[in-house]
């Protein structure tokens, strides 16, 4: 790997790249991810583009800090505040199907007679009663709109793969014929938040993630380079799924080291 194009900025996925998720706990840091983050803060520019929907940016950063990974709150991008901004700009009145921890972002937004449903739950928050409430709100709309924070098929927890929000979006779409707007990776609109935060053009940026379709494929579709790490939800069969990463590395540290050793070119 010599020459290549300049890499001026890094977008990192969080879950499965910096740490692995454990049910009802902080999770566990992936070896050397803390060093990789420190290195990027010192030698390049880095932002964290996550589909995490359970916590505020502050609590995402705090959790990482407790794991010894020094990520600054202002460098974290998650869907909830981006969705809230989108609602304000488009005069949308949501029925909120989200975690309590992100409600602060929606303060002041009118939620009476909703004209969309915003879905960003995780794990046991997907109870039948709450899903059915969202369903009833959607089916009564003349033009049902479901805004989902990411459209993931599953996410990887230490105990195994777990169903993700995309399954519940598909369920509601099937039963209501709603339009589904994903504000999260791999949507172009969401990757733009990362580009804007870095203040760079897509061709200057690499995205590093564990999800082949959402992180790697999504970034490539926006003109960035996409790097696959073999941590988190990575599986050997990813290699037959039609997306070719610009680089595949064993872990975040390994990916960063390869690019740095090549003079920040890929």
């Amino acid at each position: 790997m010599s020459n290549g194009r300049a890499v001026n900025g890094f977008l990192l996925d969080i879950t499965g790249v910096l740490y692995n998720s454990i049910y009802k706990s902080d999770g566990i840091a992936i070896p050397k991810s803390a060093e990789a983050v420190n290195f990027l803060y010192q030698h390049s520019k880095v932002k964290f583009l996550s589909n995490a929907k359970g916590n505020s940016n502050r609590n995402v950063a705090r959790r990482l800090q407790r794991l010894g990974i020094n990520v600054r709150e202002e460098d974290v991008i998650t869907p909830a505040p981006v969705v809230a901004q989108y609602l304000r700009e488009n005069d949308l009145r949501p029925h909120l199907f989200v975690r309590d921890d992100v409600l602060e972002y929606f303060h002041g937004i009118d939620t009476t007679s909703p004209n969309c449903v915003v879905m960003g739950e995780v794990e046991e928050g997907f109870s039948f009663d709450r899903i059915n409430r969202a369903f009833r709100v959607l089916i009564d709309m003349p033009k049902p709109l479901l805004i989902t924070m990411g459209n993931g098929k599953f996410f990887q927890r230490i105990d195994g793969p777990c169903i993700d929000v995309g399954a519940f979006a598909a369920a509601l779409k099937f039963s209501t014929n709603c339009e589904v707007l994903n504000i999260g990776k791999p949507s172009h609109f969401y990757f733009e938040q990362g580009m804007n935060a870095l203040g760079m053009k897509p061709e200057e940026i690499v995205m590093i993630g564990d999800d082949l379709m959402s992180d790697v494929g999504g970034a490539q579709a926006c003109g960035m380079r996409g790097i696959q790490v073999r941590t988190g939800k990575w599986r050997p069969d990813f290699e037959k799924m039609g997306v070719t990463p610009d680089l595949t590395a064993d872990c975040l540290f390994d990916a960063v080291k390869q690019i740095a050793d090549n003079g920040f070119r890929l």
Binding site: E123, G125, P161, I163, F168, A170
Partner: protein, 257 residues
């Protein structure tokens, strides 16, 4: 318009809503029986044949238990044929129809309607079986939603679609609107019955009426149960209720679809 000789009739939302008969339907059914053969076909997935029978009796319908053809009965046949050991996502009351079927070390996920089980942990358990153990995905039916006294509820089609999305595996569907289901129901009425002189009456525009039309029968949509404005624009034969649908059949006014 050939004369109708066999009628398939949906139950919930067409003849009754929960424990209440839709007004006039009991007498209309008696009248219909004088002209044609009938079979009751239902996608209700949480109730066994006996339970449905008892409910219809309570509602005042004159009916025999063997006249009810359910998607659970069809599912049991499929499970036995394929030697499936299912992980059941079913209401406990439906389990009566699956007595004696082994369930250890599951190689299939069988989904019916079990609202309280439509949650994160059940979906994850099913996802892992399909993705990691190559279990088959069987849907008793793929209904979008259904009507209860307190309002609309998500149907099993929602869970099934969610699992299809996340696993990339397509479900095998047993109940309405599958052609095999309508065929099996009509077959029980004898050799002389064929699709061209059979009609399906139901409140679900997709699963009852359009499904029957796809299978080569005619269909009548009733504006009761889960009927929503706009459904009537999708089909040719529409009746205000089962009572009016019976009048259409007897008066030979069911148009060809």
């Amino acid at each position: 318009m050939s004369k109708i000789s066999a009628v398939l009739i949906d139950l919930s939302g067409t003849l009754h809503v929960e424990e209440l008969a839709i007004p006039g339907t009991q007498a209309a059914l008696q009248l219909l029986r004088k002209h044609v053969q009938v079979k009751f076909v239902t996608n209700t997935t949480k109730e066994s044949q006996s339970l449905l029978y008892e409910r219809l009796k309570t509602c005042g319908f004159q009916i025999e238990k063997h006249e009810i053809f359910t998607s659970l009965v069809a599912a049991r046949d499929l499970i036995l044929q394929n030697h499936y050991r299912p992980f059941f996502i079913l209401d406990d009351r439906a389990m009566e129809d699956f007595e004696g079927i082994p369930t250890e070390d599951p190689n299939a996920v069988v989904i019916g309607l079990a609202p309280e089980k439509f949650n994160d942990s059940t979906m994850t358990a099913a996802f892992r079986l399909i993705k990691e153990k190559n279990a088959s995905l069987i849907a008793i039916h793929k209904g979008r939603y259904y009507q209860k006294k307190d309002g609309l509820h998500l149907g099993p089609g929602a869970y099934v679609s969610g699992l299809e999305y996340s696993t990339g595996v397509k479900a095998e569907v047993v109940g309405k609107p599958e052609k095999l289901f309508f065929e099996a129901a009509l077959k029980t009425l004898g050799k002389d019955v064929d699709f061209s002189n059979a009609v399906m009456i139901g409140d679900d525009v997709n699963d009852d009426v359009l499904g029957a039309i796809q299978a080569g029968m005619r269909g009548i949509l009733v504006k009761t149960g889960k009927f929503r404005d706009g459904d009537d624009l999708k089909v040719r034969n529409v009746a205000n209720s089962f009572v009016e649908a019976v009048d259409m059949i007897i008066g030979n006014k069911v148009e060809n679809d």
